[in-house]
Symmetry: C2
Subunit: 258 residues, 2 copies
């Protein structure tokens, strides 16, 4: 199995603290050694880093810990291969363009007997169930909404139906973002918290590292962190319910009625 | 205007030497300061790095100079903005998936009155003429060949026709790769050389750097380097003819008859 990390904020924020704890699980405090990846939205663009080395040993992961990249939407993944060999094309997150924007996707879990009919518009490059699910998601969104991106409530309702359909095939914890919202679906394990004023100190669970967020934020900042297993020992992480899709916008979960 | 660098090889090769000279033009020996990018194929996967900082000042460019990434197909670009503001989404190379493989594209030049009809399958995320041309190229290839990727001669003939059509709108020096071949079209300026046994020493023109390739190669290695302006002072670079599309496979230009 793999682990997921997502961040959604109202101002561009660096993910160095959370990524440092998360990447440690890629080889040191846990055995997610079969590659890792991270994608940062910056404006409409995406910085996309993938590697089949363990995150704990990767020079690119080291660079990301040293050079704060500020983003409002980030998705990261450390991989423990279940389907698909250890190869660059099988590292999450995956990126595709649809409706003139980039979509970033990462998955934790394992889908069985999942062989959806693809019409060729979005095709997997590697051989994971995850990339297949991503291609199917995009295809079905485009089939429902055509060439025009729908408003967030309609999009969220469609994603709720599609993630439920895919999750019937196994474990489908996933994160998806188009740079404006972050969608997170939980089958078995996903937690989140929102950091906002008054900010406090946080202690990483996997590393001897402490940040006092009150020193590096303004009172307006709001940051949602979504992760497979809680990253800090002294904060309250809220578990997702099984089967739940949450939509994060501007640093907090939103309730939408289509 | 911008500058292009491509590499096509018969064995995975690192591009540190050529990229070092090339990146120096992004801010030091030349004024291509408006971003840069590089994409490396590794198997079916792609490592894609883009940055809107000048290549000469970018920590990611520094990492690439220090950590040799081996690849059989690489495309790099340094940008001097002509159309589209300085932003991550406007940095080349661009990446899209078609026919279950990634396609990487970079362009040097300027297209005028170029407003092709896009059917929505491939849409630009940024606002450069270059990304628009890339989307149009892919759309037209898919329109001609449907869901099945054609053989190289047919693909090359189609690209020859399409690049000629696009080049009628202005300057269209471009590089395109799917990880198996590298296609390079010249409107105004493009040079190449093939390094093979017996390998010799090469001196960068833009940096005080020398490599003796006979020390780092085997007699079977073959590497084609394609670049806007020659990178070394002591080797013979062959100019492309205006309007010429060359196809590089396994480290050398090939002649194809569809």
């Amino acid at each position: 199995m793999c682990q997921l990390l997502g961040m959604n904020c109202n101002v561009p924020t660096d993910i160095v603290f959370s990524f440092t704890g998360f990447a440690t699980r890629g080889g040191r405090t846990d055995n997610h050694n079969d590659g890792w990846g991270i994608a940062f939205f910056e404006g409409a663009g995406v910085r996309h880093f993938v590697d089949y080395q363990a995150a704990d040993a990767s020079p690119i992961a080291r660079l990301i810990k040293q050079c704060p990249i500020k983003s409002k939407n980030v998705i990261a993944h450390i991989r423990k291969a279940t389907q698909g060999q250890v190869a660059l094309e099988n590292c999450h997150p995956f990126v595709r363009e649809m409706w003139g924007r980039y979509w970033v996707f990462a998955h934790n879990g394992d889908l069985k007997q999942f062989a959806p009919a693809l019409d060729g518009q979005f095709r997997p490059v590697g051989n994971t169930d995850s990339e297949l699910a991503f291609c199917y998601l995009l295809q079905e969104l485009r089939r429902r909404f055509g060439d025009a991106m729908p408003a967030l409530p309609e999009l969220s309702a469609a994603l709720r139906a599609l993630t439920t359909e895919i999750a019937a095939h196994g474990v489908f914890n996933m994160m998806l973002s188009d740079g404006s919202a972050l969608f997170a679906h939980c089958s078995t394990q996903l937690h989140y918290l929102v950091r906002q004023h008054p900010f406090a100190e946080a202690h990483l669970a996997d590393e001897d590292m402490i940040v006092d967020f009150s020193q590096v934020t303004t009172p307006q900042d709001r940051v949602a962190i979504i992760v497979t297993a809680p990253l800090t020992a002294n904060e309250t992480w809220l578990p997702f319910a099984s089967g739940e899709l949450k939509v994060f916008v501007e640093g907090e979960p939103v309730t939408l009625y289509a």
